[in-house]
């Protein structure tokens, strides 16, 4: 057992405890209280004057897949020969030795969504992982499939135009997405594709991968920047009554009414953190950010690592307070809301009893760029100590 004493605790889902203790047993948080007395504690950490946050979550990264220091341009995100590959698993390409993981963890990020790319219409299964550097898969994997990643808009259009393969425009992208969902619906009802044995395995795998989407167990996570790409994704999700998460959502501010009405979760960023040469991400996102917190929309942020390094996500968000969003909703978006979007809110995202003991102890407010991270706990173990 491990006891953290006298810290300022930000449980996120409960009010702030200005001086309190956290008891950790094995991998889980056991108790949070103002003064915990326990005899069987074998390690104490004095957090007097320190701030304790739940481990931060980056909701959209390519960490581990798009590694740092790759020596030649190898494609790790998109299996581009086929626009529809929902059966590919991001976790199969995830390298826990990626130096980006260590860096991110040392800055307080403990969990991320590691996703496939956005060139394909459906590119694969996004995974929820913890950032344990050089860890074993059974330790760092939270869930292997938290959503099927897809892309609409410019990315598929641009790439497939260059190789003259369908889809070269938005109409065809939407068709491919629709048809694969119709196929999956038919497959649930007992339909079997009529194909030769060489392609049949692939085809069946694709259909099986889409079943949890049709059954509303996991969402489609669609990369969409422009307002009408977002509406296309929404329209298709409505047709099949499936769950949807919009990634990037640059122009979502033009259609907030519709997004609020249908309660579509958004994963914002990295537009606004950085300049993009792409046509579709030209909209200035963050000057509208305050409308989100007033409308009670579920939103989180993604660094889209390596576009912005995951490690710098809290620094990037610190600037958003200038645009009228308050710190507590920023902290929520970086913790519990991200966990909700990933479907892992029972395990991570807040400091509560029986949740995983992923904690960050800092010497000041997390959004202050000068703040130093003192300790990082993942699964109840100290993975970083300054």
């Amino acid at each position: 057992m491990l006891l953290i004493k006298n810290g300022k605790i930000f449980p996120v889902t409960y009010p702030i405890i200005s001086k309190g203790d956290i008891l950790i047993h094995k991998k889980k948080i056991k108790k949070i209280d103002e003064n915990i007395q326990c005899e069987s504690v074998n390690k104490y950490i004095d957090a007097t004057g320190k701030f304790i946050y739940p481990g931060l979550i980056d909701c959209h990264t390519h960490l581990g897949l798009d590694e740092a220091y790759k020596w030649y341009d190898k494609e790790e995100l998109n299996e581009i020969g086929d626009p529809i590959t929902p059966h590919l698993r991001a976790i199969d390409g995830f390298n826990p030795n990626d130096p980006g993981i260590t860096e991110a963890m040392q800055n307080g990020i403990t969990s991320v969504t590691a996703t496939t790319g956005s060139i394909q219409i459906l590119s694969g299964q996004a995974a929820a992982v913890k950032l344990i550097p050089n860890g074993a898969r059974q330790d760092f994997l939270i869930k292997p499939c938290i959503g099927i990643k897809g892309g609409l808009g410019e990315n598929p259009k641009k790439y497939y135009k260059s190789i003259n393969m369908m889809p070269t425009n938005r109409m065809a992208s939407a068709f491919l997405l629709r048809q694969s969902l119709y196929d999956a619906v038919a497959y649930i009802n007992g339909w079997k594709p009529n194909e030769t044995s060489t392609t049949l395995w692939n085809r069946l795998e694709k259909l099986k991968a889409l079943l949890p989407v049709i059954q509303r167990k996991i969402p489609l996570r669609i990369h969409a920047h422009r307002h009408y790409d977002i509406l296309t994704a929404i329209r298709i999700a409505q047709e099949f009554k499936i769950k949807l998460v919009i990634e990037h959502a640059t122009e979502s501010f033009l259609i907030l009414k519709e997004i609020k009405r249908l309660k579509i979760p958004l994963v914002l960023g990295p537009n606004g953190f950085t300049v993009s040469e792409k046509n579709e991400s030209g909209f200035e996102t963050f000057s509208h950010i305050k409308h989100l917190q007033n409308k009670n929309i579920l939103f989180a942020f993604g660094s889209d690592h390596p576009v912005i390094a995951t490690a710098y996500l809290p620094r990037m968000l610190s600037k958003l307070t200038h645009y009228g969003i308050n710190e507590s909703s920023l902290l929520q978006s970086l913790t519990i809301n991200a966990a909700r979007i990933m479907g892992c809110e029972k395990l991570i995202g807040s400091i509560e009893p029986d949740k995983d003991a992923d904690l960050v102890i800092t010497n000041g407010p997390i959004f202050n760029p000068r703040t130093k991270v003192e300790y990082v706990f993942i699964n109840g173990e100290i993975v970083f100590q300054r």
């Binding site: 135009k161 003259n164 393969m165 938005r170 109409m171 068709f175 629709r178 339909w191 509406l231």
Partner: protein, 391 residues
């Protein structure tokens, strides 16, 4: 119930000014025209707008545009007109590529155009499904009038040009080959529909053909030449399907056959530069000749060929070449509504239809006239000098 009254001396019932004082009663909750009353005794306690000296006309409709598919000023990434990877694609939908915030929607509104038919481009033999949407009134989903108004086909030089550029052999290179491929696809779809499996599997391509074969929607065939019109008519007879001819300058030589088969025609604006050989037969008298033969004719801008704001100019010009004012107005209101299959909802000022109204400061066909106020479903969506204030 929220109601609105519009008073005017020039209400265009049936696209003709009555020259008599009267008023329209609009039910703003339903967005419909509730009543048209002639006389001066206006009921009190209802919100009233006085357009006495203005011309109150139904909103104009352009049934052949590519509005929002080619976005203004967005380069190649904003161009979703043609999917040239396969020659026959009845399953793709124009609605999925429409940028409804393209500035030309607002410009169309300011010219009194309230509804548009948006079709995919002409590079494929079968290019996809068109849609009919309002030019204003909220976001894309609240603007939809009809999601599927027909499947766009193209014969002639444009698909031929694209298929000859394409090096793969899935594209037919000749006009004979194109017609044969089209027939092959329809026949295959027919066969699939007849041999329906027990388990429902929705194949969007077959679904699309089924809608055409059951006469739910027409094939909207882009044709220019004489013999292409013959091919189109023969296909419509062979499969017993509805067709609409788009552009069809040579139709003036075939009025009897077209009349007999009740085929509507959408005319291209004649004042485009003939960039292809097939366009040489464009004639300014085309609408007049077709209308006089009793054919349903619509005028269109074919935006972005001519920008959509010139629809009024196109209608005005056709009067110069022989159409009467009523005929000309029909060609940009009721007839396009019929072609789009939305004439139950809009296309004229009549009781029970949606209140899509433009109030012009003169005759709507006069080049100096301009709309001062435009309503869609009874809601003000444009006011002169107040470009973005309402919507």
């Amino acid at each position: 119930m929220k109601e609105l009254i519009i008073i005017s001396k020039n209400i265009y019932e049936n696209n003709q000014p009555k020259k008599k004082e009267g008023y329209l009663v609009i039910d703003q909750e339903q967005g419909k025209i509730k009543d048209i009353v002639w006389g001066k005794d206006i009921p009190k306690n209802i919100c009233t707008i006085d357009f006495s000296n203005y011309h109150v006309v139904t909103g104009l409709i352009d049934c052949h545009t590519h509005l929002g598919l080619i976005e203004n000023g967005h380069g190649e990434m904003g161009n979703d007109l043609n999917e040239t990877t396969q020659p026959i694609l009845p399953q793709i939908r124009a609605l999925d590529g429409v940028d409804y915030l393209d500035p030309y929607f607002q410009i169309a509104l300011s010219e009194g155009i309230t509804a548009v038919g948006i079709l995919p481009g002409p590079a494929n033999i079968v290019a996809g499904q068109g849609c009919a949407i309002y030019t204003g009134h909220g976001n894309l989903h609240s603007r939809i009038i009809k999601e599927n108004i027909g499947i766009k086909c193209a014969f002639g030089e444009i698909p031929q040009k694209y298929s000859q550029k394409n090096t793969t052999n899935i594209f037919p290179k000749t006009k004979m080959g194109m017609i044969s491929l089209l027939r092959q696809k329809i026949d295959t779809a027919k066969k699939t529909i007849n041999s329906k499996q027990k388990i429902e599997h929705i194949d969007l391509e077959t679904e699309a053909w089924q809608m055409v074969l059951s006469k739910e929607i027409p094939l909207r065939i882009h044709v220019y030449r004489n013999y292409e019109i013959d091919s189109a008519i023969s296909i419509s007879k062979e499969y017993n399907i509805n067709i609409v001819l788009e552009h069809a300058p040579d139709a003036i030589k075939k009025t009897e056959a077209i009349k007999k088969n009740k085929i509507p025609i959408t005319c291209n604006p004649y004042f485009i530069f003939p960039s292809r050989r097939e366009q040489l037969s464009n004639s300014p008298y085309q609408p007049k000749i077709l209308a006089d033969a009793g054919i349903t004719v619509a005028l269109s801008s074919n935006h972005p060929e001519i920008a959509i704001n010139y629809l009024q100019t196109i209608a005005g010009l056709s009067c110069r070449y022989g159409l009467t004012e009523k005929q000309s107005l029909d060609c940009v209101t009721l007839n396009p509504a019929k072609i789009l299959g939305i004439d139950k909802f809009t296309g004229s000022l009549s009781i029970g239809k949606n209140a899509d109204i433009a109030c012009w400061n003169g005759s709507p066909l006069d080049w100096k006239s301009k709309p001062v106020c435009v309503f869609i479903k009874g809601k003000i969506v444009y006011q002169e000098g107040n470009k973005y204030a309402v919507n």
